[in-house]
Amino acid sequence: MLRYFFVGFSLLILLVVSITGLRGWKSKRPPIELFPDMVRQAKYKPQTESEFYADNRSARQPVEGTVPLGYASVSTSSSNGTMGDLGPYQNIQFTASSDYVATGRFGNQWGTGIPFEVTAAMMQRGRERYNITCAVCHGATGAGNGIASKYGLNGIANQQQQRIRDMADGEIFNTITWGKNTMMGYGSTIQVPDRWMIIAYLRALQRSQRTTWSDLPTEEQKNASSWK
């Protein structure tokens, strides 16, 4: 009798396992929530679907001319159009404003110069942001040979060329924000201070490719002489 029980029991286990599978097996079935009390609440989380609005988006487009709550206008941080000593993490990142910091222009002219004092930390930040976003196409040195160029993305600008070396910082800022030719704008993903830091780093990249002997610090010159 016990024998029949064990056979039945084993078969039952086999049946259960064959239906439910084991932990970690891939499945397209949405996870079962065993105690669903308030696990999914009637509220919108970021980037979720809505059945209320016609376009099915819970996120709404801002009314034209809206300044988000908590976002000061860039121009209020300082009267002369610079960001003063405000660091990159102040809440001044997305506001569209008409001054140099947010447009790269003075009136109808491209301005040039980084609108805040560039520190080593900001150069590091610029480098990091450059490598995340720009290097995919423009390459780690700006030579236009990033990975996308190897997969058939044409028309990538070589940032080492004279035209871009001579280009005003403000125009580069504008290009990052709104794009140019095949390049799409990155204004929605790179924040304003980061764009300036990227430009600062780009200038360093350009300089690095045309370094002369006299540009080297004396210590490096000594080191390099010893290799000869």
Binding site: K26, I32, V39, R57, Y151
Partner: protein
């Protein structure tokens, strides 16, 4: 009167007990094994409208997580990229524009309606989770999303259960990474001892003090 119960019935209570023990332990074992996010959540791999491969974009092309998930460091929600992010490289006349696999991207770009990606990783609505505070304090994408850089189709690798969260909240030194390696999915500590030594250092330096009280997450 002598043979009221047949002889085989002597062992019956014992046999029944054995059966009962097996049935109960089978039930308990089954519930222990299946009634947990380790079973219900891990391995969830829905079909996506576009068969986007993290393996190609991260592993093969070497792209950074933050090219697409651009606000993970500053926002609680790690954003699903906009259609424009795809179009940056896959726009008209660019890489694989005509591929039928990218048809929903084209469609979305033309209509302005979002690509209906299927969300995989979900904590309950009564649990608060913030991406930025985690990635800015030494918790790598890898810790919660597993080897997502190797996934051709994303699946849920970790249970995201409360017990699992607390594993790290109680002993963050076992998981904290150098800030330079947060987005490097291929970095792994050489040994557990090294991890602990490094983790203790970061925990102290950054004053990592993850909440283990109810109100830390259920707020």
């Amino acid at each position: 009167m002598s043979n009221f119960f047949p002889r085989w019935s002597n062992l019956l209570p014992l046999k029944l007990l054995v059966c009962l023990v097996f049935i109960v332990s089978g039930l308990v074992g089954g519930i222990w094994y299946y009634f947990t996010p380790k079973y219900t959540r891990v391995g969830y791999q829905p079909d996506q409208p576009v068969p986007f491969s993290h393996a190609i974009h991260v592993q093969q092309l070497g792209m950074d997580c933050r090219y697409c998930h651009s606000f993970v460091e500053v926002a609680g929600h790690s954003n699903i990229p906009t259609t424009q992010t795809c179009i940056n490289c896959h726009g008209q006349g660019k890489i694989k524009w005509d591929s039928p696999r990218l048809a929903p991207v084209q469609e979305s770009w033309k209509t302005g309606l979002p690509i209906p990606w299927v969300r995989i990783h979900k904590v309950p609505d009564y649990a608060y989770f913030n991406h930025a505070v985690h990635v800015n304090r030494g918790v790598s994408c890898y810790s919660c999303h597993g080897a997502i850089n190797e996934m051709s189709i994303v699946y849920e690798a970790k249970p995201l259960s409360m017990a699992w969260c607390l594993e790290c909240h109680r002993a963050p030194e076992n998981f904290l990474r150098p800030p330079s390696e947060i987005y490097n999915m291929q970095w792994h500590p050489k040994s557990f001892d090294e991890q602990q030594e490094m983790g203790m250092k970061f925990k102290e330096e950054w004053q990592v003090n993850p909440p283990v009280t109810c109100g830390g997450c259920h707020r």
